[in-house]
Symmetry: C5
């Protein structure tokens, strides 16, 4: 999973019907993963400005009860805090 910040919304009226009702956010990776922002579906009640945990690939789909949802990135948690031991980052 990567840590990202929710920075925007995406609207798409015309889409695969399995995507109806989903909320699409633009997320910007903070640590790890792709450097560019991308689009993730919310499964954690996130909002703009939240730091979130994003799962990608087939694992992302695991949050859905129904099968066959063509979504490859999902916000699976809202981050309370991250604690990194900077002294370990030397190597």
């Amino acid at each position: 999973m990567i840590i990202a910040k929710v920075v925007g919304n995406v609207w798409a009226t015309k889409k695969d019907e399995s995507l109806n009702g989903l909320k699409f956010f633009v997320v910007q990776p903070v640590k790890g993963g792709a450097r560019d922002g991308f689009v993730a579906v919310d499964a954690a009640g996130a909002g703009i400005g939240d730091h979130v945990l994003v799962s990608q690939g087939s694992s992302a789909r695991m949050v859905f009860d129904r099968e066959h949802v063509p979504v490859d990135a999902v916000i699976v948690g809202i981050i309370d805090s991250v604690e990194v031991d900077e002294s370990l980052l030397g190597k």
Copy 2:
């Protein structure tokens, strides 16, 4: 998912038969994901110039009713608008 622009067409007569009838577009990522353009199958009625939402990997295949389609990128929606809070992109 990534946001991309539909910029071209690809024609391939000789191909795996499960691909017959599919429309292949060249899409150029606008925000997130690979920087280079790549090829995605249309599942949203997209056209040249449209900004679209592209799903990749096994998730892309979820738009097909039949199984075993060797497609790893699908246009799953046509984007109406994207709203990003630029002030959040500082970090």
Copy 3:
């Protein structure tokens, strides 16, 4: 999928037995995807010099009738032509 050119052959006598009979090509991405060349299994009757459509990941395996083939890249089509509207690539 990405567009690649078939540029070479790979021979491997000692390999997982599920791979017997497959043809392994070195393919060089032309547009999109990894910049370096990689190895893909042919499922479209491709030859050296052809421009091809390559599917990657679990989607690549969908061309096989049998299950459990440890292949993560397959040539799924031979490209006749690609038409890109250059004016759309500005941004």
Copy 4:
């Protein structure tokens, strides 16, 4: 799999319920894979400072007894030692 060092903790109270009880670490790749740190779930009893083996994608989920856990990176082992023949790295 990649070799990474465990450098931090991530706390997320509000998350997909299938994630309850899991331990989330920030891991920093040492050799191979993404350069940036990312978040992995512990399945090997790892601790801060350990060098670990991290599996990603759908393979990561294989450590769970239950299905449908939206996790795309898991610490599958704690590394005792790595021995690389530097003379082979020339090319």
Copy 5:
């Protein structure tokens, strides 16, 4: 698949029990794929110094008879020779 050279060994005593008995090698990509070395499980009887074919992602798991092995990279073949037509690499 990518072409890589086997350059080292990895030992991890404490690991997910499904990994017991597997041999972990450090492999260095020669052509294509990630530039950094990473860790792959041997399924072809490879040894240090061999040039090998490495399959990644869910496809890698296909070499195992048992399910649920959290491995995302496997050596599926030992390369005898690679023949690339350099004149095709111009573009």
